[in-house]
Subunit: 259 residues, 6 copies
């Protein structure tokens, strides 16, 4: 697959953009799932902040729970001044609910659609898709609503980062609990991994329509500057189960030394 | 089982056709299941595209969710120009719903049946059978509907590739969540496999009525040209659990060298 | 247990008849469970076909889903011409539903009972008992119906092979999902087993009332001539979990050689 | 615990009586659970048959499903002529249902209670307690009914062997599915165990009120003479999970020889 | 935590009292959970019997299912003559139901409260709290009832041993099935453990408010004298899963000898 | 992330404050989950007690179940005289229910809000959030209530320690059973870990918004002085599953010595 195809929308996070051949595909819908504390919101904020400040792409953050103050404060801890960007007309942070959001994105003259068009918004982050699940108890109806929302974003050609809370903390993530991974263009997982009596974080790309991407499970950390993606977990098996084991080779070499 | 029996309908994917003794059996219904991102749609598109361009068999793609534009665009990324084939009358991409599809295939003079007959369609891909599950909450009634649909395809002697979304991401796929595998002629699984801190993909053939087939679990990748099936996973145990381990032999040899 | 007791009803499959001391017991009800593609229907067909052609025992196949044409065609692929046997009055293939089947076997002058008596049918295959589950959602009532059906077969002293679909694909088959195994005389399991990055098939006998039988878990394959039962899985542990491991001995010997 | 206390009621099965210090305690209620084919009915029959023929204790078998003919025939295969014993007035085989059974045992002048008293019955086998579960969907009410039945047996001072079907085939039997084990005096488990690509059977005693018993998990087989209890499983771990592993010691010794 | 704080209420079981720094805390509520046959009732009886005979503390046993005769008989097998103690006014064995018990303990002038006060009862055993679960299907309401009962015991400053049936037989006890462990002062678990093809018993202290206690998982047995607590399980891993493995060290040492 | 940002609110527990760069963030909501007996209440009490006595920050404990007397008594066992602090106006222990608590915290002139303002309360402990689950069976509604409560605490800029009962005793904690971890600023887990036939306790920090923190899984104990956090678990794998294994290295070194 030629990676040059399609305009790339980078996160502005070095290791991460490398993993996805330079960036997300323009106009694509990209799901990021993770347990609490894995860094979903941080990645989404960084995607929007860097989009505005480095790539000149106005952005929008839609949040369904967090208070505005909290959101601005959390971003500021990474040095990202969202209020300033809003005052310059480059960012819009929307505190809404799934029902309103869906309606105002689906209607031709919906408020949110107009906002996107008037501000020239290129990037949208949704925090989080999990709240859509309150809209319908019927899984097929819910899928239609989620699908309609994602399509309304695509119609505007905005590149979206959609967060979703994952209830699987550490064990085998055997069953999907949402149909969104089947709908979106990309599916990224953030997972906890136990290594040497410590909790590391893994970044996994399971799906990226129309683009090549690394197949490696990469370690990442969150520091004062935001996300930092590192190398893969070497000498380890069982990473996807959350509880790794040394490969036998690794174990032998550690004890007996290399041949 | 003599593999020469029955006309073969090849995917046009070298490694894959080898696995199934040259191709699918004419008029058979073939289920391909996989988690999001495992390449179900790509295999189905390639089956239809190659059918038309290499084997002179007009084809039809039925999709229940994806927008037409998206579908054409995704195919184009592999160099498959579906619109051109449609304009030549060799392909029909149908955007419908399970209810209509079932009705228009079951009735003697149904629209879709007529289309198949008029265009001389030999291959059909359905993306995906998962949407049929919205038709009935009763598992026995659902099975009847699925069975009726599959039989209507067989009556026309078209060879079908039926996709189905599998919610099992990586752990042991212990329980079937559909009865379709019991109804169809072939049952293929696409699974994620963790190998050396990376995510590989495995192609498994569990069932192929009336034909021999490889029993090997083969690695495959998706590149810019489509699906590429490779060799089996050597020196590994536990592939079906998604999280492989080195065989002890492999581990010893890696550390101590071969005898 | 003296194995000579009771008239034996052989499958006519060499390795398999050996496993069960020559054959099934006359008049017994024998359950064969397996996941899709494990060969249930093939074994049942072979039991009936060989019964007629080698042992001079007229037979009957009751199927609840498959189209007649498909059934005849699938059998022909193994060289078994069911239509010919039917035309000779030695076989009856019945396409029915569980309700009718139950009724016509239970009534003293039921159609199916009469058929058995008039044709002198000695062997019956039912494909599959899974469809009985649509008759009642109450597990105790269902059990009564299943029990009544099985008893009606026994009253006629026919030897039956009852197939049942098993939803457990590869992981540990921890829980029974039917009470039939408690009702029948024999309980045979067909299971997938991962060996060296390939999918093998295992034949397991868990129960055989009134007869000795091998306790070994045997490998089997399906070839153009039908079922072939082979030796047990040597040097392997965890076969019943579907994902085997080399025994430590086997692993050591493979690497270091035998003492 | 002094094992001499209380009159012992032996099975007449050598290895088994040794495991329980000579026999069951007089007047006790003893539960035997197992998956299909593990030998529950055989043990119960042997308990009753030996009771009459070796220990001069008239017995009674209550069965809720099996046809009388089948029962007599199955017993005869082991050389146990139940009909003959019945004709001598030493045995009563009752084909009934849980409701009637409960009623006729609970009432002071119930038919079954009278039978016990008139025939001087000392041993009762119930095949199986699983059928009581159809009496109530409320687990607390069911427990009361089961408790009432067991107490009615105890009031007559008969020693009972109560069978119960266990749906756990081979994996870890993690959860009890009945409260009977808490009510009865003894709780015996029959389990399948995979050993060297074969299916062995294990006899486990988890509870025996008022008596010492072996803690060993013993292998047993069913042969033409009935049950034969053998030694424990040496050199194996994980027996209760159904899928054993060689202990590391055992593995090393097998390969490298003993020190 | 100074272990001298608070009056100690010993079981009179040497190894066990050592584990809990001399005894239970006066006025505390202590939960003992275990599968059938693990010895719950024996421990409770011994606690009450020793309390009366060795520590001069009158006691009370409340039982919801067992017949009085059975209870007296079971105790006698250990040499504990409960009837004699009752006739001396030092013990009261109450055969009741949860509803009555709750009522007569909660009311200021309840019958059971009066009994406690008049007899000067210092120790109560409840066999078993599991029966409370029939009082309400609502988990929050049930918790309130259980809490009210436990508080009524505490108000009288009696030290209680509350038994609870645990349905987890041998596998990982992953989920609590009751909220009582959160309410009580101490939480003790009795578990089966497979060791060398035998079933051992483990005593585990998970919680003991206001007191130090051993963290060791200790082996215990039931003999003719009652409970005997032994040392921990050395050279074993996975005890809490019920199926232990030799530690690698232990395995190496067993085969190759110590360094 | 610069750890100096934001005022720190220390626990006054040396090892623990080190793990979180000096203390909790002012005004943050911090969830501590654990099974019964893991020390949740002790940590919360110590947080409040040390806040008052060492850091001059008045505190409040809200408890939904425990009797006042019991609470004071349990604290006194650690030498923490809560009554004395209350009499000095530095502490308020509130015995309430979730409904009242929510109402009196949410209203502008709510009783509890007034108390916080009048006493100048800086720290609040809630024992436990589990009781909120009785307020609504609808998970989305419950989340709103929990969110509203947490926000009302944040509005007052109090730093809160919110306890939650975790039903996962020892096995893999695969699924979250609450949405609170997604709402709060910090998520701490207390878990049991089996080590060498003993039960140890582990402290894990999964989330801490706006602050760095150790990723290590640390051992901790509860002694007469309260919580003591120790070093990580060295030479062990599988800590998060509750049942650890020696790493192969550790095992080899223990037996054969270091290189």
């Amino acid at each position: 697959m030629k990676d040059s195809k399609g305009h790339r929308v980078p996160f502005g996070i070095k290791g991460l953009d490398e993993m996805i051949c330079g960036g997300l595909l323009e106009g694509s819908a990209n799901l990021i799932e993770g347990a609490p504390g894995t860094g979903k919101t941080t990645i989404a904020m960084e995607f929007i902040y860097n989009g505005i400040t480095r790539y000149n792409e106005p952005g929008c953050i839609i949040t369904f729970e967090e208070f505005p103050q909290q959101y601005y404060r959390d971003a500021l801890k990474f040095g990202w001044d969202l209020k300033k960007l809003e005052s310059k007309g480059l960012l819009k942070v929307i505190f809404s609910d799934p029902e309103t959001t869906l309606k105002e994105f689906e209607k031709v003259d919906g408020k949110f659609i107009k906002l996107v068009q008037e501000m020239g918004i290129k990037r949208i982050a949704v925090d989080s898709m999990s709240h859509f699940e309150s809209l319908s108890l019927d899984e097929f109806h819910l899928r239609e609503l989620e699908c309609a929302f994602i399509n309304s974003l695509k119609r505007e050609n905005v590149t979206s980062v959609l967060l979703r809370e994952n209830d699987s903390l550490m064990g085998q993530m055997s069953q999907l609990t949402s149909k969104i991974p089947f709908i979106v263009d990309s599916y990224f997982l953030l997972r906890y991994v136990e290594i040497d009596s410590a909790i590391a974080k893994a970044f996994i790309i399971l799906k990226m329509r129309g683009s090549d991407h690394t197949k490696e499970i990469r370690r990442f950390t969150i520091s004062s500057g935001g996300i930092e993606v590192e190398s893969k977990f070497s000498g380890r098996e069982g990473i996807m189960s959350g509880i790794t084991h040394h490969t036998p080779q690794d174990a032998f070499v550690n004890v007996f030394g290399k041949k």
